[in-house]
Every structure is written in C-alpha cells, then in structure tokens.
Amino acid sequence: MALLEIRNIVKRFGDFTAVDNVSLSIGAGEFFTLLGPSGCGKTTLLRMLAGFEMPDGGEILLDGKNVANVPPEKRPVHTVFQSYALFPHMSVADNIAFPLKMAKKDPAQIKTQVAELLEDVRLSQFGNRLPHELSGGQRQRVAIARALANRPRLLLLDEPLSALDAKLREQMQIELINLQKEVGITFVYVTHDQGEALALSHRIAVMNKGKVEQLDIPEKIYGFPKNRFVADFIGQCNLLEAKVVETGSERMKIEIDGVGIAETLPAAGVQAGTRGTLALRPEKIKISASLPADVADEVHFRGKVHDCLYLGDVTIYIVELENGLLVEAMLPNSASGQAKFFDDNDAVEIAWRFDAGHFLAE
C-alpha cells in the first residue's frame, strides 16, 4: 500500500481553483517532487499535506487514514520552509529541541538527541548560536534537522534551496540525496527549478494550472514529455509546428511547417492530417558544415548560423533554416581552447535521428 494517497483533491480560493482534482500516490521511502511554474498549485497541495490548508474536496490518506481535516500538529508530517522559519528568539539547539519538547519527550533524552542531530548536520559547535548568526547553508541544515527530529512519516520541503547561491545549491542537492537515502523518510519536494527536480527525484509530477500534466520518472519526463507544456517547461526544447503525412507502425512521416518532410517515431491516436508539434531537444541535433545526404535514419536540413551562445561547457547554436524558422542545437565544447565550431552566418547542415524527437498531437 502506498504511504500517501491523494484522491481527487480540490482547493479553491474564491473563484480561483488552485488545485483541481488531483490524485496521486507516493510510496514509502520515495523522493517525490511537485514541479511547476509559480501559481500552478504545487505549494497549495503541499500546504494541504502539512495541514495549513483544508481541501474543499477529496481525501488525503496517510498510512490508509484520511488526514485531510486533521490539524497540522496531529500529523506525523513535518515541513522545511522556504524561509526556513527558524525561531529567531531560540538558539539552534532549542530550535531542534522544539518538536521533541512538543512531543513531551524526557529532557535527558531530548538533550542527547539534539546533540546527535547537531552532529548529523555538522553543527555541533553552533548549538548555542542564534539563527541570525548562521550562514544561509547552516540555517538550511538546522531547518532540516529540526524537521527530521521527530522522525516524521513524511518530510515536506517547500523550495528549500531557492535562497542559496548556485554553488551552495548544488552541494545541498547532493546532501539532500544522501540524507534521504540515509534516513529513508519519504520526501515530498516542491520546486519550480526543473534542473533541481531532475537531479533529486525518484518521480516527478509536473503541475500546471492546478492539474498534474505528467507524472513519471525524471528520464521519462525529460525524454518523453507528454505534451507541449511539459516539453517546453522541462529543459530547452525546439517545438516545431507540423502535421502528420503518413502513419506507420515503426515510424511515421510528418511535414514540418515550411521546412519539409521528416520521419519520426509513431505517435498514438494520430492519422494523416493530424496537427501537432515535433518536440526536439537541442542536444539531439547534430550540426556540421556538410553532411552526406543519405545517412540512414537521419533527417537533415540546410541552414545558416544565426546566433551562438558560448556557455563554457557547451555552445548553443541558433540555426536559421531556409524558411526563416529558428532551431536551437547544442554542441559540447570537447576540444579545449576552442570556443566554438561555427560563426554567425556560416552555412551549416543540421540533422537528427528519426527517433530523437517525438510528435505531440494537439
């Protein structure tokens, strides 16, 4: 049985439906991420799991019991807040001891447990400090230690890394993954950062306008986005308007508007004439000065370099096809010292394997 089962949850604020009939289940020990743009309902859903908002409909089953209307202090669920919400008038040790005191544990036991938790997050020296005397990363670790102190069934994390700078964020991501493995507690993580979601999660639910657009493992979310929204939201993606010319069992033919015929993987439920979008990741597109015209399984078109974005590890080339359509291609800069292979206005050939992209029917 799933640890957490959300059934047909609805939450409205006045006329606005923040969470619209969402159902999903999360297994014990899972690192589950709710990903979406701001206002997509992910935070509202998290707040309902914590107990800060009561749903207008539906059930939240935790270990099989409906907790939808149980107040937050009665749920075995703890939260790491975006602002960390450390109590500013209490020392680090008192912050971590707070949930243990609320659970009326024995004072001696609280003392040893706090010492252990401080050691776990490498803050043993800082027990007597006040939160404002710590750095951002240290506060983050205190917040996590405090939320884990009572060994919750479920740990909710609301954009916990958004206040940190890029370098520290990456380091904290690794710490989070290790921590989750170590404690084995189920994490429900909310973020709008797709890179973070892909890096951390076992499974991701991509949300938009109060609904779950796609729920899958990161590789599937990135590699096989179910619709235009997911393809566009996760990573960079070329979205080329096209229509189906000829269906088939192994591959099908589509016509990319104003560019030409291309082969691609068959899509379910389409027929000749169905309009849609070809979703194509920039790193799947090859780019060269000239290609032999008859490489098996490849689609290719001529164009010229419109812009180059040198990013250090990779360069992004924006290629203008003959009809003016712009396509992004990404090449790793594997040879050191060489910034890029092509310059603006170079004539190039772009190519991709027929199974590199896939067709999303409208």
Partner: protein, 259 residues
C-alpha cells in the same frame, strides 16, 4: 557616522527646534531648586521645595491615586490591547480596527464628556473606578496599534512551523508569537502608563468630587500661582517617565526604533 558636513542652516534650525522643546523643561527643573517663591530670578540652590512637597498631604495622596490608576490601567489596557491587536492582525476585520482606533482620534474633551454622561446614566459614583475605566478605554487603542505593527513585521511561517512541529494553537502563541511581540507589548504597557499618569482632560470629567490625581492637583494649585512646589513635582514626574523609558529600552531594545 557619516562625514557629510551639515549645512549651517540645518544646524541652526535643529538647535532652534530642540531649544523650543527642551528649554521650558530645563527651566522647570532649574527653578525647582531655586530659593525663591517666584519663578523670576535665580536666588540660590535649595531642596526645600521638595521638602514642602513631601509634607503636602493632598499632593501625596493624589500622587498615590495617579500611580494606582496608571498601574491598573496599564495592566488592563495591555491585556485587552494585545488581544485587540492580535485579532486585527489575524482576522483582517473591518469593524474592530475602527472601533479600537477611533478613540485615539477623538478629541479628548468629547471622550471626557461622553464618558461622564455614560457613568451618570449608569448611576455610578464618580471616583477612582470611573477614572480607571476611562483611562483603560482610551489606552487600549494605543497598545493595539503597537502590537499589531509588531505582528505585521513577523514572518507568518514561524507560527505555521510551530504548529507543524507539534504545537497546539495556544502553545504556538505562547512559545513563539508572544515572545516575538513582547517588545511591542512592553512598549504598549509603558505608553499606557505614561498616558494615564499625565492625563488631565478625561480625568477632569470623570473624577467627580471623590478622587484627585496628580495632574488635577497640580492644576488646582496653579489656579493661584505657579509655585516652586509645582516645579518640584513636575521635575519628579519627568524623572519617573525618563526612568520608565530607559527601563523599557533596556528590557526590549528596538522598541523605540522599529515601531
């Protein structure tokens, strides 16, 4: 400190304003030690006016009344004002702020007259109780404002975090909210105390014949002449207020900044 040079104009006008504010106070203090019946010229140093003061039975009695009223007022107004401030912050009400804050804007004389009529309608004997009730009623609003502004500056997720970690609503208030708004509560209590101890107009209407407070007593004395004894009691009142403000700033640093 910044190194910018202040213009002479700014200096002059600042000095003029401070002089206007503080010279009268300094004169009162200086003349309370003057060995003369008249506030006209400096004759010599003496403590005799303070001696006179501490042998003035009615004055001591009025001072005792004032202190008692101020203490009760500040306790009650702080309790109710904190509750009102918390409710205004928590529930985004429309009517409550209006009801609590209007007395602050009303002319004191109007408050005094209406409270007098009200007490008479209730057939209450005017005296200590009616004065105290009147003082509480106009102090609640001041406390409420200070407490609300303190709450508005608080991170709302702190209370949620406390609930999340197992605290009941009451525990979250007692362990998190209350300690964090304490500077505001103390500032409110102090404000209520000082407002009560020096109130004249409302006290004048609600005192009746039964009880006298320090301001009423001082007023009745200066009807004849401003005696050095009045200077002495005024100086003591100033010292008390100053001590209270210093104590509060020690107890709750930041009270006189953020709010």
């Amino acid at each position: 400190m910044n190194n910018k040079k202040l213009s002479p104009w700014l200096w002059t006008s600042a000095l003029a304003v401070y002089a206007f504010l503080y010279i009268p106070l300094i004169i009162v203090i200086v003349y309370s030690f003057n060995d003369s019946r008249l506030n006209a010229e400096w004759v010599g140093f003496t403590l005799k006016w303070y001696q006179v003061l501490f042998n003035d039975g009615p004055m001591l009695h009025a001072a005792g009344n004032s202190l008692l009223i101020a203490l009760v007022t500040s306790a009650a107004a702080t309790l109710f004002g904190t509750m009102a401030g918390y409710a205004m912050y928590k529930f985004k009400l429309r009517l409550l702020p209006l009801l609590v804050l209007t007395p602050l804007a009303l002319p004191e004389i109007l408050m005094g007259v209406s409270l007098l009529i009200f007490f008479v309608m209730l057939n209450m004997t005017l005296g200590m109780v009616s004065i105290t009730l009147a003082h509480i009623s106009f102090c609640i609003g001041f406390v409420a404002i200070v407490v609300r502004s303190r709450l508005a500056g608080m991170d709302e997720s702190l209370v949620e975090a406390a609930r999340d970690l197992g605290a009941t609503q009451w525990q979250a208030f007692r362990l998190i909210t209350l300690p964090l708004i304490m500077p505001g509560v103390i500032a409110g209590a102090l404000m209520a105390f000082t407002l009560s101890i020096d109130d004249f107009v409302i006290t004048f209407f609600t005192a009746g014949a039964g009880a006298s407070t320090l301001p009423l007593q001082i007023y009745s004395m200066i009807k004849i002449a401003v005696t050095p004894e009045v200077n002495a009691i005024s100086s003591l009142l100033m010292a008390l207020t100053l001590a209270l403000i210093m104590a509060a700033s020690k107890l709750a640093p930041g009270v006189f900044k953020a709010n």
